[in-house]
């Protein structure tokens, strides 16, 4: 694969975006909306902390509800960034350069949202650090057999590496923005972030090494984090969870949902910021192909899961039938339809390169993957082993408000990123063009 067609307009315009931001009014409208949702998040958390997790719909048997479903959903979204950046960097696919920066930012913010959920989910959230292996005076350690312990490590590692990778990647562009700043305020702002980058050969050489090493660390994490998350379910003796297909299945689903959201953001950003020359139809096409590929792999996961359940029979089959026709069948069929229905349009390049269609398909997949997470958590727990334990879960206002609130948190952070930082990796595009 070759790099995309040379861009005609000046990619350096990206570096001037913060100072000469177009569509300021739209940004403000979006930002205020995101702030409202963020306010809802704060209210929801305050209510949760004041009253307890009973404000949600969780119960026995469905002890895990929205928080865990949303945690997996956000973490899944947080996968595409690293996958696009690190993996495609290592395999030398330069077309990624137009996408990696904001995809990485998306990862960062999605992982932030994801990471908050397991803490908020706790009965006693102020004790969350007990999951960390620190030398406590009571000499009590985490329980290392628990998938949750490894979950904690995995998410924390992923967050740290994602931050590092994103930050290392943005340093040269921050320097570029600093050098092009028209006011002192912007110069100081970018200058602080640029850490004294001067673009010397030695800088570049060290940067290259650091960036590639971090990428090399990040790539296996993409696989390991979601594999680890899947163990949260796969390790539990719960019909519909206890399955060895889960790790790859989760990684595929995560990448799928991540690419879906990257597609949405790409379409939106190129429209709002006028980046059509940087994020070209070629990029949309590539995203469409990735979305289709990961979507089909996810679909395979669905089939494999249904097959193993049918093969296993017994309670596994019962859970499958519950998913097909039980009280939460809407979530199963919602996932199947929203994930794989509109996706089929992506077989045609015409639709892949139509921004609105790609956006709609991405949205559909994001919704579908949410249904899948919900289905996975709820439809397994509500009816597990004993018929007598069966009990339905109904989400409450505070379930939805916290979810909407995390979306607000995500967009607040993302809009701040869009407004104040270079959204596209300018130097890498330049580098690719010069090469």
């Amino acid at each position: 694969m070759t790099s995309p067609h040379p861009v005609k307009s000046d990619p350096e315009r990206v570096l001037r975006l913060p100072a000469e931001f177009p569509n300021k009014r739209i940004w403000w409208v979006l930002f205020l909306f995101a702030l409202c949702l963020l306010g809802l998040f704060l209210v929801s958390v305050a209510v949760l902390f004041a009253r307890g997790p009973g404000v949600w719909g969780n119960n026995i048997p469905v002890g895990w509800g929205f928080p865990i479903a949303n945690y997996v959903w956000w973490l899944g979204i947080g996968h595409a960034g690293t996958l696009i950046s690190a993996m495609l960097l290592l395999v030398g696919r330069e077309w990624r350069n137009s996408l990696n920066r904001f995809a990485e930012a998306m990862t960062l913010f999605a992982v932030t949202c994801a990471g908050l959920y397991p803490i908020l989910h706790l009965g006693r959230p102020w004790r969350f650090y007990w999951m960390a292996p620190y030398p406590s005076t009571m000499e009590v350690w985490p329980q290392f057999k628990s998938p949750l312990t490894w979950d904690f490590f995995a998410v924390l590692t992923y967050l740290i590496v994602s931050v590092l990778f994103w930050y290392i990647g943005i340093v040269p562009d921050l320097a570029g923005a600093r050098d092009r700043a028209t006011t002192r305020r912007w110069a100081i702002f970018f200058g602080l972030g640029a850490l004294g980058w001067r673009g010397s050969a030695q800088h570049w050489q060290r940067w290259q090494r650091a960036y590639r090493v971090t990428a090399a660390i990040a790539v296996p994490l993409v696989v390991s984090v979601h594999s680890e998350i899947s163990l949260l379910f796969a390790a539990g003796p719960v019909p519909g969870w206890n399955s060895s297909v889960f790790p790859p299945y989760f990684v595929m689903g995560a990448a799928f949902s991540g690419f879906a959201v990257v597609s949405m953001l790409a379409v939106w950003l190129r429209a709002m910021l006028g980046l059509k020359t940087l994020v070209t139809e070629r990029h949309l096409d590539m995203l469409g192909i990735l979305l289709l590929a990961t979507g089909l792999l996810t679909a395979y996961g669905y089939l494999a899961e249904a097959w193993t359940a049918a093969w296993a029979g017994g309670r596994e089959l019962q859970t499958l039938l519950d998913r097909f026709a039980g009280p939460y069948a809407w979530s199963y069929w919602g996932a199947v339809l929203a994930n794989f229905g509109p996706l089929q349009l992506l077989w045609w390049k015409r639709w892949r390169t139509t921004p609105l269609v790609l956006f709609a398909i991405g949205t559909s997949a994001a919704v579908g993957m949410w249904c899948e997470r919900y289905m996975l958590v709820v439809s397994s727990l509500y009816h597990d082993w004993l018929e007598s334990s069966e009990g339905l879960f109904h989400a409450t206002f505070w379930d939805w408000s916290l979810y909407a609130g995390t979306i607000g948190l995500f967009f607040t952070l993302f809009l701040l990123f869009v407004r104040f930082l270079p959204v596209i990796s300018v130097f890498e595009i330049e580098e690719a063009r010069h090469e």
Binding site: M131, V238, D384, L386
Partner: protein
């Protein structure tokens, strides 16, 4: 404190007592002669010499239920009563108890108990009350009690009877009315442990009620004897709606209430009595044939019984059958006839409306709510010049009376009572009252102006008793010798015979948890899932699956049910096994002045209890989901409850499963065996566990969301033909799995295994990830979704067992096998330098169980009771394919009852 054996530790905790003492001093001038010097409570700030805090003291007492005393042992710690157990030395308890006895403890602490006298619903004082009573006394002295009426609830206390007799002696024109809201149990008693074959006609022998412990312990003894090869234990039940007795029976016939007469006659004719043979359907004839066969197979070892709500002719016929078969004096015996003759509430209403009653004194009865003619009673009160009411609560009747006085709870007063087997026990108070209340003996003594403390009043009632015998009585021995089990005499058989009813047949029965409504303010009982429906916090219109199909009704559909002019509105509940055209209602809902707990809990079925006329059932076209703790009652082909066909049959051996981990062979290795052949689903274990383990109640909304906190639940399944399925109960505490999935899931080591094989939950380490619950195949774990305990009023804090941690918000909890009791036994054994003996650790559920369905002990020792149960061949693991190696195992139910 008076003397060693009778002394009562000072009541309540130290702080509360200091407050109360302050209050007592402040009120000293107001309450005049209320507190005699020797009755004053002392705070634990001045601890008695030699007293150690935290050491339990036990007092023999009684818990009276509808005039029948349940023998009990009360446990107090630092002066606070914290648990009731059955009295193991008494044959009417054998250590067992029921849900009502267990929950009586909470009744004592009820924060909404009446706290001061009231006049016309306005707060008043004892001084004013005493003045009014003094006026009444003077009046009665002049008129010899003409126009004075005393209305009591069912009286089972000889002391109370004597006091009533004393009043009647002094004022001969006094009328005594006894209000029995529910049918009288009569004076015949059933020795179920002797009965190899029992045929019950619409009689819920084993079901809730004042004779439940007596019957269930008897039946349990019989069934265990059957298991040991000593004779049959057959139970035949014909009933319109499933009861715990019916579903325990080997042979259950769903039959309309109005079929009981013909069925009885058919049985009588079948065993050769000269009775006209009625026409029977094929199932009925078959059932009669089998029942008669069993009865005739062992004359003198059978028993025929009819529910007390049926006409006296039926009881007379059942009696005649028993006489014919030689069962009298064997399986059926009679108590001494009750002394004193009272009249009924209906007679009171008539007399009042005729203007023959001028003053009414209501003692511990609530006819304004709990009677078939509450409105009639209320109207009758209008004809009465002055009315007094004494009760635990300012209830519906209190609201109608001029005067109300707060009554002392049974657990804080001296009394006595006749138990189910006719012996009399002394009821000691477990605590001195902390409210300005008076006992019923005190109130009646005041009426005739008699002095003395409650204890003196009671002691004076037993003048023939030596001091030694009195001391022994305080230790739980019956007063006087056990009465001879006499052959009963034929009952009088007057009154209307049962008549065939219309198409739909409405039956109204006491609620299994709140009874006739008297326990509606008790959250432990309101939140108790009813045995057959698992409904909590409300009642419902129970209909058969066939009727539901015919009317297109499903669970929760609101209907209007009217009988004649009486009507109620309530949600439908479909009960498999109910006779097709029968509609069952439970009493005890819809209290109008039952306090905040009872508010909104169900509808009031009392108006329908005696209503006549055409029955109509109309759908209201809306659905209000019924609050229930179990939603699915079919086993769906699984073997959660297993069966063997006959005595000596064994379950097929379970193939060993692959497992990475070696078996844990600690010593002791605690384990439990629950024999489903003995479980009758009575719920005694559930409430006992609540009382022992400080389990918070969560209320209707939370139960409906699936957040009840019970550590042991009784699952119920119904399999087979919905017209007459096999119902089974399965108590499910924590399984204490050796390979517990919860322990693997917890990230912070908050659930771990103890060396003696317990699955522990470490509350202060738990951060509330709920992984353990998600991974638990048995879903026995309970989560504190809110702070369920912190905001409890002081009374509810005082009822807590100090040996059990009170859980805070956000932590998981579950059955611990009563680890505090294990720990107590271990400490005791260690002090004495010996191993813990078998039977030394008795869990709360096990102690309460009237049929001994639960065995607990060291499974590493093959000689223990629990090991022998597990080796019986009927023992099995719940969910063996989960391969969790549970320490709690089950004994398969035996289908047959024939030896």
């Amino acid at each position: 404190m008076t003397d060693g054996t009778t002394s009562i530790g000072a009541p309540l905790g130290r702080r509360d007592l200091l407050k109360l003492l302050g209050g007592a001093i402040a009120l000293a001038g107001l309450d005049g002669c209320e507190r005699l010097p020797d009755e004053d409570a002392l705070p634990y700030a001045e601890m008695p010499e030699g007293e150690t805090t935290g050491i339990a003291r036990y007092y023999a007492t009684i818990v009276e239920h509808d005039g029948i005393a349940q023998p009990a042992i009360g446990k107090t710690i630092d002066g606070r009563p914290i648990k009731l157990e059955g009295n193991p030395a008494h044959p009417a308890s054998r250590g067992a108890s029921d849900a009502f006895t267990q929950a009586a403890l909470l009744g004592l602490y009820d924060p909404e108990r009446s706290k001061q006298p009231a006049r016309n619903a306005f707060p008043s004082g004892w001084h004013e009350w005493d003045g009014a009573i003094a006026d009444l006394r003077q009046r009665n002295d002049k008129t010899a009690g003409s126009g004075f009426a005393l209305l009591t609830g069912p009286v089972g206390s000889p002391a109370l009877l004597r006091q009533i007799q004393g009043i009647m002696d002094r004022w001969p024109a006094t009328r005594w009315y006894e209000h029995r809201p529910l049918p009288d149990m009569g004076r015949n008693r059933l020795a179920l442990e002797q009965a190899h074959a029992v045929v019950a006609f619409d009689h819920d022998l084993l079901g809730p009620g004042p004779l439940q412990i007596f019957h269930a312990t008897g039946w349990g003894a019989r069934r265990r004897a059957f298991q040991a090869g000593d004779g049959s234990a057959l139970l035949f039940v014909a009933e319109p709606s499933p009861t715990v007795t019916g579903v325990t029976a080997q042979d259950r016939l769903p039959a309309r209430e109005d079929r009981m007469g013909p069925l009885l006659a058919a049985l009588a004719a079948r065993i050769g009595m000269p009775v006209p043979v009625p026409t029977l359907s094929t199932p009925e004839a078959g059932w009669i044939e089998r029942a008669a066969g069993a009865l005739m197979a062992e004359p003198g070892r059978g028993l025929v019984t009819v529910g007390p709500h049926h006409p006296p002719q039926f009881a007379a016929l059942a009696f005649a059958i028993d006489r014919h078969l030689g069962n009298l004096g064997e399986t059926r015996f009679a108590l001494q006839p009750a002394p004193g003759a009272s009249s009924s509430l209906a007679e009171l209403t008539t007399a009042a409306q005729a203007g023959r009653i001028d003053t009414l004194f209501v003692l511990d009865a609530n006819p304004a709510y709990a009677s078939t003619d509450g409105a009639g009673f209320a109207a009758a009160l209008g004809h009465i010049r002055e009315s007094f009411h004494a009760g635990l609560h300012a209830d519906e009747t209190a609201a109608l009376c001029d005067w109300h006085a707060p009554l002392a709870h049974g657990l804080e007063s001296w009394s006595d009572g006749e138990t189910a087997d006719g012996t009399v026990l002394i009821g000691q108070p477990l605590v001195r009252p902390w409210l300005p209340v008076r006992s019923r003996h005190r109130l009646l003594a005041d009426l005739i102006g008699r002095d003395g403390t409650d204890r003196e009043l009671l002691r004076a009632g037993w003048p023939d008793l030596t001091d030694e015998a009195w001391e022994a009585a305080l230790l739980g021995r019956p007063v006087g010798p056990a009465p001879a089990r006499e052959k009963p005499a034929a009952p009088r058989s007057t009154g209307p015979a049962g008549e065939p009813q219309g198409d739909l047949c409405v039956i109204v029965r006491p609620d299994p948890a709140v009874w006739d409504g008297q326990f509606a303010s008790n959250p432990w009982l309101q939140e108790l899932p009813r045995p057959l429906t698992k409904i909590a916090w409300q009642n419902a219109v129970h209909i058969s699956p066939a009727l539901a199909r015919e009317r297109g009704l499903s669970a929760g559909d609101m209907v209007r049910l009217s009988v004649g002019r009486a009507r109620i509105e309530g949600p439908v509940w479909i009960l498999p096994g109910q006779e097709r055209r029968t509609i069952l209602l439970h009493l005890g809902g819809g209290r109008r002045a039952g306090g905040s707990v009872a508010e909104g809990a169900g509808f009031d079925a009392w108006p329908l209890a005696a209503a006549n006329g055409p029955v109509s059932l109309v759908s209201l076209g809306r659905n209000e989901p019924v609050c229930t703790t179990q939603h699915h009652f079919a086993m769906e082909g699984e073997e959660f409850v297993r069966f063997v066909d006959g005595l000596g049959d064994r379950l097929p051996p379970e193939p060993p499963k692959a497992n990475f981990y070696p078996r844990q062979l600690s010593r002791p290795a605690w384990g439990m065996a629950i024999d489903l052949d003995l479980c009758i689903g009575c719920n005694a274990c559930v409430v006992a566990c609540v009382a022992e383990n400080n389990i918070p109640m969560v209320g209707r909304e939370e139960v409906a969301k699936g957040r009840e906190m019970h550590w042991i639940r009784v699952d119920r399944y119904a399999e087979g033909d919905p017209e007459n399925p096999v119902h089974v109960f399965q108590p499910v505490p924590c399984m204490h799995c050796e390979d517990a999935p919860c322990e693997m899931g917890c990230p912070v080591n908050a659930t771990v295994h103890s060396p003696d094989g317990l699955n522990l939950q470490v509350y202060n380490r738990c951060i509330g990830t709920r992984t353990c619950s998600a991974y638990c195949p048995y879903k026995v774990r309970r989560f504190n979704w809110f702070d369920l305990t912190g905001k409890d009023p002081p009374e509810l804090k005082a009822v807590r067992n100090p040996d059990v941690t009170v859980r805070g918000r956000g932590v998981m909890e579950k059955c611990t096998y009563c680890i505090q009791r294990i720990s107590g036994a271990r400490r005791q054994a260690k002090r004495e330098g010996r191993p813990i003996a078998d039977g030394e650790v008795v869990t709360a559920c096990q102690a309460a169980c009237p049929t001994d369905a639960i065995a607990f002990g060291d499974t590493s020792d093959p000689a223990t009771a629990v090991s022998q149960r597990k080796a019986s061949g009927r023992d099995y693991d719940l969910l063996p394919d989960a391969n969790t190696r549970p320490r709690t195992t089950y004994g398969a139910r035996i289908r047959s009852g024939e030896a």
